[in-house]
Symmetry: C2
Subunit: 415 residues, 2 copies
């Protein structure tokens, strides 16, 4: 079996933990699996490097930032290889530029274009464990690039896809994907399995377990991902194409998530002409700003309002760009609101159920929470609310949709 | 003018110091010099990484050690580039594998085979300051390599040679090359100039200013090196082909050095046959051990004694290998002595002077220091002595050869 494993920063937090990772790798080798291991930077290292750069200047050059940040994973890969070799397990570290993992040139959030497999396959054939530095690649000019926060997940899935691996195991500090953030919702349960689409909605909404892009990639190439804890043995959560829910048939949603890392920008009295929305969002795209929710209200006469959300890191930049476009197109005003949260319910089951949206809205209303914007997809409903209500909203929705752990036990007994 | 500058770890010890380096670079750019800047790892970083690896295992895999260690210079290069760009000076960092600086595959002490200049020249032509990570290269397989301690000096000189630079400036924490280690000999003086050959003898004997190999390389390609302080303005010391000494005509030696980092191995009663010495030193060379002094005493009948010195890091390994060879060739015993020091006087002037050696031996004798081995070259005489006498020997020789600062002042007045 060919297994791609990925270890996050906490799993590699110190030499003792690296040794534990090495032991697990050796146990896989003992049952003759071929192993490609993707590593993140040791916990805290990326932040340390980033804060060094930020104390030089607020906006460090992005090409050079990538040169700086890629060292974190390089250190991890070398330390793990040294550890494995000291335990008599043949291993070799490979960096993104050695493999090569070719990306575009969008520094600090590059996208993988192609993964060459020759070098990895050659080392696997020699019986070696191949350790790959995650998060990094190289563009066509030979410049070092990084894939953005959580990019090591994407590296792992891209390798699993390119190598046609049997499974991609993601080791992290949680033991799987939960119905909600256990810190916010103590009755949250671990899911045994979840579909790519559900996970995509979960991840983009802040479930913090897997990088969104890694799940997109896994879906495209049908790579099964198993999310497991580095520290506790357990079955983990399998992320795959289809999940057969037997005992949970009645549970129409898989999880409740929230995201406090967004900001809302509203453009008032936009002239309601074709091409205006395109103008705004092209300007944002040109600045490499990713827009999340977009809501355009029903037109009032020849004017309309447009609201969108972006990550808070991009908020000021997006605000400025939008103000410029607003002036140009003759909109009235642009308002930035950073005190928002997005609360969402996710589940493939909701398509075949009536009244899910109504239940969500009435649950929030019962808690006195005002809804500022709504978007829906086939498997997700999201509401933008005031930031301070985020936790309360998650708890109320988790309970209302029967996800609290006791409720589920009962349902299982009944079915 | 095309200038290659190299900054050592102390010069880049923190962000404030990196900013000072950036300011100096900008002052060079303002007078329209083209600049290639070679950087070491920030002070303490290489040791930190090394001790991480050593706390995993006593002998970490050397290929992976190089992967680990090269991150130190990569971080420096990125931080300096970020600093320069934040000060509106166009700059770009390049790693050894990007340039490429091609080396052999002797990990942890690789030798440069070839330096490609296309990429650097292209960036210089765009008006950029090119920042190069020192100490590192890439072998023909694409594996990362390092050049050994002080390797950044060699990177700088190799680049200066390949680019046909006008000068190679080495910025360090001392303001030049001294007649002796000022910590040991308070009356040591800075030399304005020194020849490659003298410097080679000084460096190999522990003058600690420049890596030996960088001087060899500079000599081969006739690259003038200017050693200067990063912290104090001053003329520094020029290392070049020939030095015209006017006021100092009478001073026949340029410096007194010592080295406590060696160990002495003596093989007793070696059968005095052709090919025996070759056998011993081939075995050491095969293990990549560099031998310094070799002394073979006059034959006693059909037997002889052979003594050699190696760095203490290699001593145990060398001892073991020599014991194996000794058994094979029927020598009597192999004795390892780690409590030695080598004290040397160096100077191109000594060739034309009588009695230099005699003066050295009598000076040591007057201090009650026993000489355990002697070697001489055209511009150097070295004595192996007991370790504890090293400082005393340096001070006595420095005085005896008229190098103490007051003495020189007087000579200058007289001439």
């Amino acid at each position: 079996m060919l297994v791609v494993q990925k270890y996050g920063g906490t799993s590699l937090g110190d030499l003792e933990r690296i040794r534990n990772v090495a032991k697990r790798i050796i146990s896989y080798r003992e049952r003759n699996d071929s192993l490609v291991v993707v590593v993140s930077a040791m916990a805290g290292e990326t932040d340390r490097l980033l804060s060094l750069a930020k104390s030089i200047t607020k906006s460090p050059d992005e090409r050079e930032l990538d040169v700086l940040l890629t060292t974190g994973e390089q250190v991890s890969s070398a330390l793990l290889a040294i550890t494995l070799k000291s335990m008599y397990c043949e291993a070799i570290s490979l960096q993104g530029h050695q493999i090569k993992i070719i990306t575009d040139s969008t520094h600090t959030k590059a996208r993988i274009i192609e993964v060459e497999t020759e070098k990895i396959t050659a080392e696997l054939n020699k019986g070696k464990v191949v350790i790959v530095s995650g998060f990094q690649g190289v563009d066509k000019k030979g410049d070092l690039t990084t894939l953005g926060r959580g990019g090591s997940d994407t590296t792992a899935v891209a390798l699993a896809a390119a190598l046609k691996a049997d499974i991609c195991e993601i080791y992290t500090d949680v033991d799987g994907v939960y119905t909600a953030d256990p810190n916010v919702c103590p009755r949250a349960r671990r899911l045994d399995a979840i579909t790519y689409d559900e996970m995509l909605e979960m991840a983009s909404l802040g479930a913090k377990v897997l990088q969104l892009r890694s799940v997109e990639l896994a879906k495209r190439y049908n790579v099964p991902i198993l999310v497991k804890s580095s520290f506790v043995d357990g079955p983990g959560t399998l992320v795959c194409k289809e999940v057969t829910k037997v005992a949970m048939e009645k549970v129409m949603i898989s999880g409740v998530t929230y995201n406090k890392n967004e900001a809302k920008i509203t453009i008032s009295r936009v002239p309601d002409r074709p091409g205006i929305a395109a103008k705004i969002f092209t300007a944002l795209a040109d600045a490499n700003i990713v827009v999340d929710i977009i809501v355009q209200n029903v037109s009032k006469g020849s004017f309309t309002d447009i609201t969108y959300t972006v990550s808070r890191a991009d908020a000021k930049k997006a605000h400025k760009i939008t103000e410029e476009v607003a002036k140009e197109i003759g909109a009235e005003s642009v308002i930035l609101d950073e005190n928002i949260a997005k609360v969402s319910i996710v589940g493939s089951g909701m398509m075949s159920h009536y009244g899910v949206a109504a239940k969500m809205f009435s649950t929030l209303a019962a808690e006195g929470i005002n809804i500022e914007a709504i978007t829906t997809s086939e498997i997700k409903i999201s509401c933008v609310i005031e930031e301070k209500y985020a936790e309360l909203a998650v708890q109320a929705l988790h309970k209302a949709f029967g996800l609290d752990s006791e409720d589920v036990e009962e349902e299982k007994l009944c079915s």
